[in-house]
Protein backbone atom coordinates (compact mmCIF):
# COMPACT_ATOMS: atom_id res chain seq x y z
CA UNK A 1 0.00 0.00 0.00
CA UNK A 2 2.70 2.39 1.04
CA UNK A 3 4.82 1.52 -1.92
CA UNK A 4 2.03 2.16 -4.40
CA UNK A 5 1.50 5.63 -2.97
CA UNK A 6 5.24 6.25 -3.11
CA UNK A 7 5.30 5.22 -6.76
CA UNK A 8 2.30 7.34 -7.60
CA UNK A 9 3.77 10.40 -5.92
CA UNK A 10 7.06 10.02 -7.78
CA UNK A 11 5.35 9.55 -11.16
CA UNK A 12 3.14 12.56 -10.52
CA UNK A 13 6.17 14.63 -9.60
CA UNK A 14 7.94 13.64 -12.83
CA UNK A 15 4.91 14.52 -14.91
CA UNK A 16 4.56 17.98 -13.35
CA UNK A 17 8.28 18.56 -13.90
CA UNK A 18 7.89 17.60 -17.53
CA UNK A 19 4.94 19.98 -17.93
CA UNK A 20 7.05 22.72 -16.35
CA UNK A 21 9.85 22.08 -18.86
CA UNK A 22 7.34 22.21 -21.71
CA UNK A 23 5.88 25.47 -20.44
CA UNK A 24 9.35 26.90 -19.88
CA UNK A 25 10.37 26.07 -23.43
CA UNK A 26 7.17 27.62 -24.73
CA UNK A 27 7.68 30.83 -22.79
CA UNK A 28 11.31 31.09 -23.89
CA UNK A 29 10.75 30.60 -27.58
CA UNK A 30 7.26 31.95 -28.21
CA UNK A 31 6.51 34.53 -25.57
CA UNK A 32 9.95 36.08 -25.05
CA UNK A 33 11.75 35.18 -28.24
CA UNK A 34 9.97 35.76 -31.54
CA UNK A 35 10.39 32.62 -33.70
CA UNK A 36 10.35 34.63 -36.89
CA UNK A 37 13.02 37.01 -35.59
CA UNK A 38 15.09 34.03 -34.47
CA UNK A 39 14.72 32.58 -37.94
CA UNK A 40 15.89 35.75 -39.62
CA UNK A 41 18.73 36.17 -37.16
CA UNK A 42 20.11 32.77 -38.05
CA UNK A 43 20.23 32.67 -41.80
CA UNK A 44 17.30 33.79 -43.87
CA UNK A 45 16.60 37.35 -44.89
CA UNK A 46 12.92 37.94 -45.27
CA UNK A 47 11.06 41.07 -46.20
CA UNK A 48 8.20 42.20 -43.92
CA UNK A 49 5.54 40.59 -46.11
CA UNK A 50 7.21 37.18 -46.01
CA UNK A 51 7.68 37.57 -42.25
CA UNK A 52 3.95 38.23 -41.90
CA UNK A 53 3.16 35.12 -43.95
CA UNK A 54 5.44 33.02 -41.77
CA UNK A 55 3.86 34.46 -38.65
CA UNK A 56 0.46 33.27 -39.86
CA UNK A 57 1.85 29.88 -40.82
CA UNK A 58 3.33 29.41 -37.35
CA UNK A 59 0.00 30.46 -35.87
CA UNK A 60 1.60 33.35 -34.01
CA UNK A 61 -1.50 35.49 -34.44
CA UNK A 62 -3.55 33.15 -32.22
CA UNK A 63 -4.06 33.97 -28.56
CA UNK A 64 -1.28 32.60 -26.32
CA UNK A 65 -3.34 29.85 -24.60
CA UNK A 66 -4.45 28.52 -27.99
CA UNK A 67 -0.80 28.59 -29.16
CA UNK A 68 0.24 26.69 -26.05
CA UNK A 69 -2.31 23.94 -26.68
CA UNK A 70 -1.26 23.64 -30.31
CA UNK A 71 2.35 23.45 -29.19
CA UNK A 72 1.57 20.75 -26.61
CA UNK A 73 -0.25 18.70 -29.25
CA UNK A 74 2.60 19.05 -31.74
CA UNK A 75 5.19 18.09 -29.16
CA UNK A 76 3.27 15.02 -28.02
CA UNK A 77 2.97 13.91 -31.64
CA UNK A 78 6.73 14.34 -32.03
CA UNK A 79 6.37 17.25 -34.43
CA UNK A 80 9.26 19.52 -33.60
CA UNK A 81 9.18 21.41 -36.86
CA UNK A 82 11.83 21.55 -39.56
CA UNK A 83 15.52 22.24 -39.25
CA UNK A 84 16.46 25.74 -40.44
CA UNK A 85 19.59 24.30 -41.99
CA UNK A 86 18.73 20.99 -43.62
CA UNK A 87 15.00 21.58 -44.00
CA UNK A 88 14.30 18.03 -42.78
CA UNK A 89 11.88 17.24 -39.97
CA UNK A 90 13.82 17.66 -36.70
CA UNK A 91 12.53 14.38 -35.30
CA UNK A 92 14.16 12.48 -38.20
CA UNK A 93 17.63 13.92 -37.67
CA UNK A 94 17.33 13.35 -33.94
CA UNK A 95 16.11 9.76 -34.29
CA UNK A 96 19.03 8.64 -36.44
CA UNK A 97 21.56 10.07 -33.97
CA UNK A 98 20.14 8.59 -30.78
CA UNK A 99 21.76 5.16 -31.16
CA UNK A 100 25.42 6.21 -31.28
CA UNK A 101 24.96 8.61 -28.36
CA UNK A 102 23.22 6.00 -26.20
CA UNK A 103 26.13 3.65 -26.89
CA UNK A 104 28.75 6.24 -25.98
CA UNK A 105 26.95 7.66 -22.93
CA UNK A 106 25.85 4.22 -21.70
CA UNK A 107 29.32 2.68 -21.78
CA UNK A 108 30.91 5.77 -20.24
CA UNK A 109 28.38 6.02 -17.43
CA UNK A 110 28.78 2.36 -16.48
CA UNK A 111 32.57 2.43 -16.69
CA UNK A 112 32.99 5.66 -14.72
CA UNK A 113 30.58 4.45 -12.02
CA UNK A 114 32.26 1.05 -11.70
CA UNK A 115 35.83 2.35 -11.65
CA UNK A 116 34.91 5.26 -9.42
CA UNK A 117 33.24 2.94 -6.92
CA UNK A 118 36.22 0.59 -6.83
CA UNK A 119 38.68 3.43 -6.34
CA UNK A 120 36.48 5.03 -3.70
CA UNK A 121 36.18 1.76 -1.75
CA UNK A 122 39.88 1.07 -1.84
CA UNK A 123 40.72 4.61 -0.73
CA UNK A 124 38.21 4.82 2.11
CA UNK A 125 39.04 1.37 3.50
CA UNK A 126 42.67 2.36 3.90
CA UNK A 127 42.05 5.98 4.79
CA UNK A 128 45.19 8.09 4.75
CA UNK A 129 47.24 5.50 2.83
CA UNK A 130 49.31 6.52 -0.16
CA UNK A 131 46.62 5.07 -2.43
CA UNK A 132 43.92 7.09 -0.67
CA UNK A 133 45.78 10.39 -0.87
CA UNK A 134 46.84 9.76 -4.45
CA UNK A 135 43.42 8.69 -5.66
CA UNK A 136 41.69 11.57 -3.88
CA UNK A 137 44.04 14.06 -5.49
CA UNK A 138 43.62 12.33 -8.85
CA UNK A 139 39.84 12.34 -8.51
CA UNK A 140 39.78 16.03 -7.64
CA UNK A 141 42.04 16.82 -10.59
CA UNK A 142 39.86 14.86 -13.02
CA UNK A 143 36.79 16.54 -11.55
CA UNK A 144 38.39 19.96 -12.16
CA UNK A 145 39.22 19.26 -15.79
CA UNK A 146 36.95 20.60 -18.53
CA UNK A 147 36.21 17.32 -20.29
CA UNK A 148 36.06 18.87 -23.75
CA UNK A 149 39.64 20.02 -23.28
CA UNK A 150 40.67 16.61 -21.94
CA UNK A 151 39.22 15.10 -25.11
CA UNK A 152 41.29 17.46 -27.27
CA UNK A 153 44.49 16.57 -25.42
CA UNK A 154 43.80 12.82 -25.65
CA UNK A 155 43.00 13.20 -29.33
CA UNK A 156 46.23 15.06 -30.09
CA UNK A 157 48.29 12.58 -28.08
CA UNK A 158 46.81 9.19 -28.91
CA UNK A 159 45.29 9.76 -32.33
CA UNK A 160 47.63 12.47 -33.60
CA UNK A 161 51.16 12.02 -32.31
CA UNK A 162 51.06 8.31 -31.47
CA UNK A 163 48.53 7.32 -34.11
CA UNK A 164 47.14 4.44 -32.05
CA UNK A 165 43.51 5.29 -32.65
CA UNK A 166 41.46 6.79 -35.47
CA UNK A 167 41.03 10.53 -35.03
CA UNK A 168 37.27 10.54 -35.41
CA UNK A 169 34.06 9.10 -36.74
CA UNK A 170 32.34 5.90 -35.72
CA UNK A 171 33.58 3.49 -38.46
CA UNK A 172 36.37 3.41 -41.02
CA UNK A 173 34.20 2.05 -43.83
CA UNK A 174 30.71 0.62 -43.90
CA UNK A 175 32.00 -2.53 -45.66
CA UNK A 176 32.99 -4.35 -42.48
CA UNK A 177 30.72 -6.94 -40.90
CA UNK A 178 30.71 -9.19 -37.85
CA UNK A 179 33.72 -9.21 -35.56
CA UNK A 180 35.75 -6.91 -37.79
CA UNK A 181 32.97 -4.33 -37.59
CA UNK A 182 32.78 -4.59 -33.80
CA UNK A 183 36.55 -4.22 -33.48
CA UNK A 184 36.48 -1.20 -35.72
CA UNK A 185 33.65 0.30 -33.68
CA UNK A 186 35.53 -0.37 -30.44
CA UNK A 187 38.59 1.40 -31.83
CA UNK A 188 36.53 4.46 -32.69
CA UNK A 189 34.70 4.42 -29.36
CA UNK A 190 37.83 4.03 -27.26
CA UNK A 191 39.00 7.64 -27.00
CA UNK A 192 35.59 9.34 -26.62
CA UNK A 193 34.63 6.74 -24.00
CA UNK A 194 37.94 7.17 -22.20
CA UNK A 195 37.43 10.94 -22.09
CA UNK A 196 33.92 10.78 -20.69
CA UNK A 197 34.85 8.00 -18.25
CA UNK A 198 37.82 9.96 -16.90
CA UNK A 199 35.76 13.13 -16.81
CA UNK A 200 33.09 11.67 -14.51
CA UNK A 201 35.07 9.03 -12.63
CA UNK A 202 36.38 11.53 -10.09
CA UNK A 203 32.94 12.44 -8.80
CA UNK A 204 31.98 8.79 -8.30
CA UNK A 205 35.22 8.05 -6.46
CA UNK A 206 34.80 11.06 -4.16
CA UNK A 207 31.15 10.31 -3.33
CA UNK A 208 31.84 6.60 -2.80
CA UNK A 209 34.80 7.39 -0.55
CA UNK A 210 32.93 9.80 1.70
CA UNK A 211 29.85 7.60 1.79
CA UNK A 212 31.89 4.56 2.83
CA UNK A 213 33.78 6.61 5.43
CA UNK A 214 30.45 7.58 6.93
CA UNK A 215 29.21 3.98 7.01
CA UNK A 216 32.49 2.79 8.54
CA UNK A 217 31.71 4.88 11.61
CA UNK A 218 28.32 3.21 12.13
CA UNK A 219 27.60 0.85 14.96
CA UNK A 220 26.76 -2.17 12.85
CA UNK A 221 30.23 -2.14 11.32
CA UNK A 222 31.69 -2.03 14.81
CA UNK A 223 29.42 -4.93 15.78
CA UNK A 224 30.50 -6.98 12.78
CA UNK A 225 34.12 -6.44 13.73
CA UNK A 226 33.41 -7.34 17.36
CA UNK A 227 31.78 -10.56 16.20
CA UNK A 228 35.12 -11.41 14.60
CA UNK A 229 34.05 -11.11 10.98
CA UNK A 230 37.06 -11.01 8.73
CA UNK A 231 38.07 -7.57 7.45
CA UNK A 232 37.27 -8.52 3.86
CA UNK A 233 33.79 -9.68 4.79
CA UNK A 234 33.05 -6.63 6.90
CA UNK A 235 33.82 -4.58 3.85
CA UNK A 236 32.01 -6.73 1.32
CA UNK A 237 28.91 -7.67 3.26
CA UNK A 238 28.35 -4.93 5.80
CA UNK A 239 29.96 -1.66 4.81
CA UNK A 240 29.96 -1.47 1.00
CA UNK A 241 26.32 -2.46 0.33
CA UNK A 242 25.14 0.31 2.63
CA UNK A 243 27.55 2.86 1.20
CA UNK A 244 26.54 2.07 -2.36
CA UNK A 245 23.15 3.76 -2.16
CA UNK A 246 24.20 7.41 -2.71
CA UNK A 247 26.60 6.39 -5.48
CA UNK A 248 23.86 4.39 -7.08
CA UNK A 249 21.56 7.42 -7.26
CA UNK A 250 24.43 9.53 -8.54
CA UNK A 251 24.85 7.13 -11.48
CA UNK A 252 21.29 7.84 -12.57
CA UNK A 253 21.50 11.55 -11.94
CA UNK A 254 24.78 11.72 -13.87
CA UNK A 255 23.20 10.54 -17.09
CA UNK A 256 22.07 14.10 -17.74
CA UNK A 257 25.52 15.54 -17.13
CA UNK A 258 27.28 12.90 -19.18
CA UNK A 259 24.77 13.49 -21.97
CA UNK A 260 25.68 17.18 -21.81
CA UNK A 261 29.39 16.39 -21.69
CA UNK A 262 28.95 14.26 -24.79
CA UNK A 263 28.10 17.37 -26.83
CA UNK A 264 31.70 18.58 -26.86
CA UNK A 265 33.27 15.14 -26.90
CA UNK A 266 31.28 14.10 -29.95
CA UNK A 267 32.24 17.29 -31.76
CA UNK A 268 35.91 16.86 -30.86
CA UNK A 269 35.97 13.24 -32.06
CA UNK A 270 33.58 13.87 -35.01
CA UNK A 271 31.34 11.20 -33.55
CA UNK A 272 27.98 11.21 -35.37
CA UNK A 273 25.58 11.43 -32.43
CA UNK A 274 23.16 13.80 -30.74
CA UNK A 275 26.03 15.80 -29.27
CA UNK A 276 27.48 16.62 -32.64
CA UNK A 277 24.00 17.48 -33.89
CA UNK A 278 23.61 19.84 -30.92
CA UNK A 279 26.98 21.47 -31.45
CA UNK A 280 26.28 22.13 -35.12
CA UNK A 281 22.77 23.39 -34.30
CA UNK A 282 24.21 25.91 -31.85
CA UNK A 283 26.75 27.02 -34.43
CA UNK A 284 24.06 27.54 -37.07
CA UNK A 285 21.48 28.92 -34.59
CA UNK A 286 19.14 26.16 -35.71
CA UNK A 287 16.48 26.78 -33.07
CA UNK A 288 14.00 23.99 -33.87
CA UNK A 289 16.80 21.45 -33.36
CA UNK A 290 18.03 23.15 -30.15
CA UNK A 291 14.49 23.18 -28.75
CA UNK A 292 13.88 19.53 -29.60
CA UNK A 293 17.14 18.49 -27.97
CA UNK A 294 16.37 20.56 -24.88
CA UNK A 295 12.96 18.90 -24.53
CA UNK A 296 14.13 15.38 -25.27
CA UNK A 297 17.18 15.50 -23.01
CA UNK A 298 15.10 17.00 -20.19
CA UNK A 299 12.57 14.22 -20.65
CA UNK A 300 15.36 11.62 -20.59
CA UNK A 301 16.85 13.07 -17.42
CA UNK A 302 13.45 13.27 -15.72
CA UNK A 303 12.84 9.64 -16.68
CA UNK A 304 16.19 8.51 -15.27
CA UNK A 305 15.56 10.42 -12.04
CA UNK A 306 12.20 8.70 -11.72
CA UNK A 307 13.88 5.36 -12.32
CA UNK A 308 16.45 6.16 -9.65
CA UNK A 309 13.73 7.15 -7.16
CA UNK A 310 11.74 3.96 -7.80
CA UNK A 311 14.76 1.65 -7.56
CA UNK A 312 15.94 3.51 -4.48
CA UNK A 313 12.57 2.87 -2.88
CA UNK A 314 13.08 -0.85 -3.37
CA UNK A 315 16.70 -0.89 -2.25
CA UNK A 316 16.13 1.28 0.79
CA UNK A 317 12.55 0.86 2.07
CA UNK A 318 13.15 3.63 4.62
CA UNK A 319 12.73 6.37 2.01
CA UNK A 320 9.15 5.29 1.29
CA UNK A 321 8.18 6.19 4.81
CA UNK A 322 9.43 9.73 4.46
Amino acid sequence: MGSRRYLLRKVLHSVTTLVFVLAFNFVLFRAIGDPVKLLTRSSLHLDPQEQQALREEFGLGDPLPQQFLNYLGDTLRGEFGYSFVSGRPVIESVAEKVGPTLLLVGISTILSALLGILIGIKGAWRRGSAFDTGSLLGSLTLYSMPEGWLGMILLITFAGTLGWFPSGGIESTDQLTGVAHLLDLAKHLFLPCLTLTLGYLGEFAIIMRSSLLEVMGEDFVQTARAKGVRDKDVRRRHAVPNALLPTFTLAFYSVGFILGGAILIEEVFSYPGLGQLTYRAIDAQDYPVIQAIFLLSSAAVIFFNLLADILYGYLDPRVKEA
Partner: protein, 318 residues
Protein backbone atom coordinates in the same frame (compact mmCIF):
# COMPACT_ATOMS: atom_id res chain seq x y z
CA UNK B 1 43.59 14.31 6.86
CA UNK B 2 42.81 16.61 9.75
CA UNK B 3 43.15 15.69 13.39
CA UNK B 4 41.71 18.07 15.93
CA UNK B 5 40.23 16.40 18.96
CA UNK B 6 38.97 19.61 20.52
CA UNK B 7 36.33 22.03 19.37
CA UNK B 8 37.45 25.49 18.25
CA UNK B 9 36.60 28.07 20.88
CA UNK B 10 34.05 29.88 18.80
CA UNK B 11 31.62 27.60 20.61
CA UNK B 12 32.23 29.46 23.82
CA UNK B 13 32.24 32.85 22.14
CA UNK B 14 28.60 33.51 22.94
CA UNK B 15 29.21 33.36 26.69
CA UNK B 16 32.69 34.90 26.81
CA UNK B 17 31.91 38.45 27.87
CA UNK B 18 34.51 41.18 27.71
CA UNK B 19 36.24 41.93 31.05
CA UNK B 20 34.31 44.41 33.22
CA UNK B 21 36.94 47.13 32.80
CA UNK B 22 36.57 47.19 29.02
CA UNK B 23 34.31 49.86 27.55
CA UNK B 24 30.87 48.38 26.88
CA UNK B 25 30.64 49.64 23.37
CA UNK B 26 28.53 47.04 21.53
CA UNK B 27 30.38 47.70 18.28
CA UNK B 28 33.73 46.93 19.87
CA UNK B 29 32.40 43.81 21.53
CA UNK B 30 31.02 42.64 18.26
CA UNK B 31 34.31 43.20 16.45
CA UNK B 32 36.30 41.51 19.19
CA UNK B 33 33.98 38.53 18.96
CA UNK B 34 34.34 38.36 15.20
CA UNK B 35 38.12 38.55 15.44
CA UNK B 36 38.19 35.72 17.95
CA UNK B 37 35.87 33.55 15.85
CA UNK B 38 38.03 34.20 12.81
CA UNK B 39 41.20 33.28 14.72
CA UNK B 40 39.60 30.06 15.90
CA UNK B 41 38.48 29.30 12.39
CA UNK B 42 41.96 29.93 11.00
CA UNK B 43 43.53 27.65 13.64
CA UNK B 44 41.46 24.72 12.41
CA UNK B 45 41.70 25.58 8.73
CA UNK B 46 45.48 25.85 8.91
CA UNK B 47 45.78 22.20 9.82
CA UNK B 48 44.27 21.01 6.57
CA UNK B 49 47.17 20.55 4.20
CA UNK B 50 44.77 20.35 1.29
CA UNK B 51 43.18 23.62 2.27
CA UNK B 52 46.53 25.38 2.55
CA UNK B 53 47.73 24.15 -0.85
CA UNK B 54 44.45 25.33 -2.35
CA UNK B 55 44.72 28.70 -0.66
CA UNK B 56 48.29 29.30 -1.86
CA UNK B 57 47.39 28.28 -5.41
CA UNK B 58 44.35 30.50 -5.36
CA UNK B 59 46.31 33.43 -3.95
CA UNK B 60 48.79 33.05 -6.79
CA UNK B 61 46.09 33.19 -9.45
CA UNK B 62 44.35 36.15 -7.82
CA UNK B 63 47.65 38.05 -7.70
CA UNK B 64 48.22 37.17 -11.35
CA UNK B 65 44.78 38.47 -12.27
CA UNK B 66 45.35 41.72 -10.37
CA UNK B 67 48.84 42.24 -11.81
CA UNK B 68 47.86 41.27 -15.38
CA UNK B 69 47.72 44.87 -16.70
CA UNK B 70 51.26 45.45 -15.40
CA UNK B 71 52.60 42.29 -17.02
CA UNK B 72 50.86 42.53 -20.36
CA UNK B 73 50.41 45.55 -22.61
CA UNK B 74 46.79 45.64 -23.63
CA UNK B 75 47.53 46.49 -27.27
CA UNK B 76 49.37 43.15 -27.59
CA UNK B 77 46.01 41.41 -27.18
CA UNK B 78 44.38 43.09 -30.17
CA UNK B 79 44.36 41.25 -33.47
CA UNK B 80 45.36 44.25 -35.61
CA UNK B 81 48.91 44.72 -34.27
CA UNK B 82 49.98 41.34 -32.90
CA UNK B 83 53.47 41.22 -31.41
CA UNK B 84 54.69 38.16 -33.33
CA UNK B 85 54.26 35.95 -36.39
CA UNK B 86 51.22 33.63 -36.36
CA UNK B 87 51.27 30.06 -35.04
CA UNK B 88 54.85 30.03 -33.81
CA UNK B 89 55.96 27.18 -31.56
CA UNK B 90 57.33 28.16 -28.14
CA UNK B 91 60.57 30.14 -28.30
CA UNK B 92 62.52 32.50 -26.06
CA UNK B 93 60.51 35.50 -27.26
CA UNK B 94 57.20 33.70 -26.89
CA UNK B 95 57.55 31.08 -24.16
CA UNK B 96 54.17 29.52 -25.00
CA UNK B 97 54.21 30.27 -28.72
CA UNK B 98 51.73 32.43 -30.60
CA UNK B 99 48.15 32.02 -31.76
CA UNK B 100 46.53 32.29 -35.17
CA UNK B 101 46.89 36.07 -35.20
CA UNK B 102 50.41 36.18 -33.77
CA UNK B 103 49.42 37.07 -30.19
CA UNK B 104 51.51 35.58 -27.41
CA UNK B 105 49.67 32.64 -25.83
CA UNK B 106 51.38 33.39 -22.51
CA UNK B 107 49.97 36.93 -22.52
CA UNK B 108 46.52 35.69 -23.51
CA UNK B 109 46.56 33.20 -20.65
CA UNK B 110 47.77 35.79 -18.13
CA UNK B 111 45.02 38.19 -19.16
CA UNK B 112 42.52 35.36 -19.33
CA UNK B 113 42.85 34.87 -15.58
CA UNK B 114 41.05 38.19 -15.10
CA UNK B 115 38.03 37.23 -17.19
CA UNK B 116 37.78 33.68 -15.90
CA UNK B 117 38.00 34.69 -12.25
CA UNK B 118 35.64 37.62 -12.81
CA UNK B 119 33.03 35.34 -14.37
CA UNK B 120 33.57 32.80 -11.61
CA UNK B 121 33.04 35.33 -8.81
CA UNK B 122 30.25 37.30 -10.48
CA UNK B 123 28.27 34.20 -11.46
CA UNK B 124 28.72 32.82 -7.95
CA UNK B 125 27.49 36.06 -6.40
CA UNK B 126 24.43 35.87 -8.57
CA UNK B 127 23.87 32.19 -7.81
CA UNK B 128 24.13 32.88 -4.10
CA UNK B 129 21.86 35.93 -4.25
CA UNK B 130 19.11 34.14 -6.16
CA UNK B 131 19.52 30.96 -4.10
CA UNK B 132 19.43 32.83 -0.81
CA UNK B 133 16.45 34.94 -1.85
CA UNK B 134 14.41 31.93 -2.98
CA UNK B 135 15.48 29.75 -0.05
CA UNK B 136 14.89 32.35 2.67
CA UNK B 137 11.59 33.54 1.20
CA UNK B 138 10.25 29.99 1.02
CA UNK B 139 11.61 28.88 4.36
CA UNK B 140 10.64 32.04 6.24
CA UNK B 141 7.12 32.61 4.96
CA UNK B 142 6.15 28.95 4.62
CA UNK B 143 2.69 28.00 3.40
CA UNK B 144 1.76 28.60 -0.20
CA UNK B 145 4.80 30.76 -0.94
CA UNK B 146 7.04 27.94 0.25
CA UNK B 147 5.20 25.43 -1.94
CA UNK B 148 5.76 27.58 -5.01
CA UNK B 149 9.41 28.30 -4.21
CA UNK B 150 10.05 24.67 -3.44
CA UNK B 151 8.49 23.49 -6.68
CA UNK B 152 10.54 26.04 -8.61
CA UNK B 153 13.71 24.84 -6.88
CA UNK B 154 12.96 21.20 -7.56
CA UNK B 155 12.28 21.91 -11.19
CA UNK B 156 15.55 23.71 -11.65
CA UNK B 157 17.37 20.90 -9.87
CA UNK B 158 16.03 18.36 -12.34
CA UNK B 159 16.33 20.20 -15.67
CA UNK B 160 19.68 19.16 -17.16
CA UNK B 161 22.12 22.02 -16.90
CA UNK B 162 23.85 22.08 -20.27
CA UNK B 163 20.75 22.02 -22.51
CA UNK B 164 19.12 24.69 -20.34
CA UNK B 165 22.22 26.88 -20.50
CA UNK B 166 22.45 26.37 -24.26
CA UNK B 167 18.85 27.38 -24.76
CA UNK B 168 19.22 30.49 -22.58
CA UNK B 169 22.59 31.52 -24.01
CA UNK B 170 21.48 31.14 -27.60
CA UNK B 171 18.38 33.23 -26.98
CA UNK B 172 20.16 35.95 -25.00
CA UNK B 173 23.13 36.26 -27.37
CA UNK B 174 26.85 36.34 -26.68
CA UNK B 175 28.25 38.75 -24.14
CA UNK B 176 30.23 38.49 -20.94
CA UNK B 177 27.25 39.67 -18.92
CA UNK B 178 24.96 37.11 -20.52
CA UNK B 179 27.43 34.34 -19.70
CA UNK B 180 27.31 35.39 -16.05
CA UNK B 181 23.52 35.71 -16.19
CA UNK B 182 23.08 32.25 -17.72
CA UNK B 183 25.31 30.58 -15.12
CA UNK B 184 23.62 32.46 -12.29
CA UNK B 185 20.10 31.70 -13.49
CA UNK B 186 20.78 28.00 -13.95
CA UNK B 187 22.81 27.09 -10.85
CA UNK B 188 20.98 28.58 -7.87
CA UNK B 189 18.72 25.64 -7.06
CA UNK B 190 21.18 23.68 -4.91
CA UNK B 191 21.93 26.75 -2.79
CA UNK B 192 18.23 27.56 -2.44
CA UNK B 193 17.56 24.10 -1.08
CA UNK B 194 20.34 24.29 1.52
CA UNK B 195 19.35 27.81 2.57
CA UNK B 196 15.68 26.87 2.90
CA UNK B 197 16.49 23.93 5.17
CA UNK B 198 18.66 26.14 7.35
CA UNK B 199 16.11 28.94 7.43
CA UNK B 200 13.46 26.52 8.67
CA UNK B 201 15.59 25.68 11.69
CA UNK B 202 16.85 29.21 12.37
CA UNK B 203 13.39 30.78 12.35
CA UNK B 204 12.26 28.51 15.19
CA UNK B 205 15.05 29.67 17.51
CA UNK B 206 14.04 31.62 20.64
CA UNK B 207 15.85 34.84 19.72
CA UNK B 208 13.81 35.15 16.54
CA UNK B 209 10.63 34.70 18.55
CA UNK B 210 11.87 37.26 21.04
CA UNK B 211 12.64 39.79 18.30
CA UNK B 212 9.21 39.22 16.84
CA UNK B 213 7.59 39.72 20.23
CA UNK B 214 9.43 43.04 20.49
CA UNK B 215 7.73 44.11 17.29
CA UNK B 216 10.37 43.52 14.61
CA UNK B 217 9.22 43.68 11.04
CA UNK B 218 9.68 40.76 8.67
CA UNK B 219 12.42 42.64 6.87
CA UNK B 220 14.29 43.29 10.13
CA UNK B 221 13.94 39.63 11.17
CA UNK B 222 15.19 38.35 7.85
CA UNK B 223 18.05 40.79 7.39
CA UNK B 224 19.26 40.96 11.00
CA UNK B 225 18.52 37.52 12.39
CA UNK B 226 17.89 34.94 9.68
CA UNK B 227 20.41 36.00 7.05
CA UNK B 228 23.46 36.32 9.37
CA UNK B 229 22.77 32.86 10.78
CA UNK B 230 22.25 31.26 7.40
CA UNK B 231 25.46 32.92 6.14
CA UNK B 232 27.85 30.07 7.06
CA UNK B 233 25.83 27.65 4.93
CA UNK B 234 25.90 30.06 2.01
CA UNK B 235 29.58 30.74 2.49
CA UNK B 236 30.66 27.08 2.63
CA UNK B 237 28.72 26.56 -0.56
CA UNK B 238 30.23 29.61 -2.27
CA UNK B 239 33.76 28.31 -2.68
CA UNK B 240 32.68 25.14 -4.47
CA UNK B 241 30.26 27.17 -6.59
CA UNK B 242 33.07 29.40 -7.89
CA UNK B 243 34.84 26.27 -9.13
CA UNK B 244 31.66 25.08 -10.83
CA UNK B 245 31.04 28.52 -12.34
CA UNK B 246 34.51 28.64 -13.89
CA UNK B 247 33.96 25.17 -15.37
CA UNK B 248 30.52 26.28 -16.57
CA UNK B 249 32.03 29.31 -18.29
CA UNK B 250 34.53 27.04 -20.00
CA UNK B 251 31.78 24.73 -21.20
CA UNK B 252 29.76 27.62 -22.61
CA UNK B 253 32.86 29.07 -24.29
CA UNK B 254 33.78 25.72 -25.84
CA UNK B 255 30.24 25.34 -27.16
CA UNK B 256 30.73 28.62 -28.98
CA UNK B 257 28.36 30.50 -26.67
CA UNK B 258 30.95 32.70 -24.97
CA UNK B 259 31.79 36.32 -25.70
CA UNK B 260 34.51 36.20 -28.37
CA UNK B 261 35.77 39.66 -27.34
CA UNK B 262 36.53 38.87 -23.72
CA UNK B 263 39.32 36.36 -23.87
CA UNK B 264 38.76 34.00 -20.98
CA UNK B 265 40.71 30.74 -20.78
CA UNK B 266 37.71 28.95 -22.24
CA UNK B 267 37.65 31.34 -25.19
CA UNK B 268 41.39 30.75 -25.81
CA UNK B 269 40.73 26.99 -26.02
CA UNK B 270 37.71 27.58 -28.23
CA UNK B 271 39.70 29.83 -30.59
CA UNK B 272 42.40 27.18 -30.83
CA UNK B 273 39.85 24.44 -31.50
CA UNK B 274 38.05 26.61 -34.03
CA UNK B 275 41.30 27.40 -35.85
CA UNK B 276 42.02 23.70 -36.32
CA UNK B 277 44.55 23.27 -33.53
CA UNK B 278 43.65 19.57 -33.31
CA UNK B 279 44.67 18.61 -36.83
CA UNK B 280 47.61 21.04 -36.91
CA UNK B 281 48.93 19.82 -33.50
CA UNK B 282 49.10 23.31 -32.01
CA UNK B 283 49.53 21.88 -28.52
CA UNK B 284 51.09 25.05 -27.08
CA UNK B 285 47.90 26.95 -27.82
CA UNK B 286 45.59 24.32 -26.31
CA UNK B 287 47.38 23.04 -23.23
CA UNK B 288 48.18 26.16 -21.11
CA UNK B 289 44.65 27.59 -20.76
CA UNK B 290 43.29 24.14 -19.90
CA UNK B 291 45.90 23.64 -17.20
CA UNK B 292 45.04 27.04 -15.73
CA UNK B 293 41.32 26.17 -15.60
CA UNK B 294 42.17 22.87 -13.99
CA UNK B 295 44.46 24.44 -11.37
CA UNK B 296 42.07 27.23 -10.41
CA UNK B 297 39.12 24.86 -10.16
CA UNK B 298 41.26 22.48 -8.13
CA UNK B 299 42.32 25.32 -5.83
CA UNK B 300 38.72 26.35 -5.15
CA UNK B 301 37.66 22.73 -4.68
CA UNK B 302 40.47 22.07 -2.21
CA UNK B 303 39.62 25.20 -0.21
CA UNK B 304 35.98 24.18 -0.31
CA UNK B 305 36.73 20.74 1.11
CA UNK B 306 38.89 22.18 3.86
CA UNK B 307 36.18 24.72 4.71
CA UNK B 308 33.64 21.95 4.85
CA UNK B 309 35.81 20.13 7.37
CA UNK B 310 36.07 23.26 9.51
CA UNK B 311 32.42 24.27 9.34
CA UNK B 312 31.03 20.75 9.61
CA UNK B 313 32.37 19.24 12.85
CA UNK B 314 30.67 15.94 12.07
CA UNK B 315 33.21 15.17 9.36
CA UNK B 316 36.13 16.52 11.40
CA UNK B 317 35.56 14.37 14.45
CA UNK B 318 36.47 11.21 12.62
Amino acid sequence: MITTPHQPDDVTVGTAVAPPTAPRDPKKIRWARRRRALAGFWRVYRQSRMGMVGLVLLGGFILLAIAAPLLVAKENLGVSHPPGPPLQAPSLDFPLGTDYFGRSVLELVIYGSRISLLVGFAATTMTMAVGAAVGITGGYYGGRIDTVMNALTNWFLVIPWIPLAIVLASILGQSLFNTILVIGLTSWAGTARLVRADTLSVKERPYVERARALGSSNWHLVSRHILPNVMPVIFANTVLTVALSILAETTLALLGLGDPRSTSWGIVIFDAFDAGALSAHLWWWLIPPGICICLVTLAFTMCGYALDEVLNPKIRER
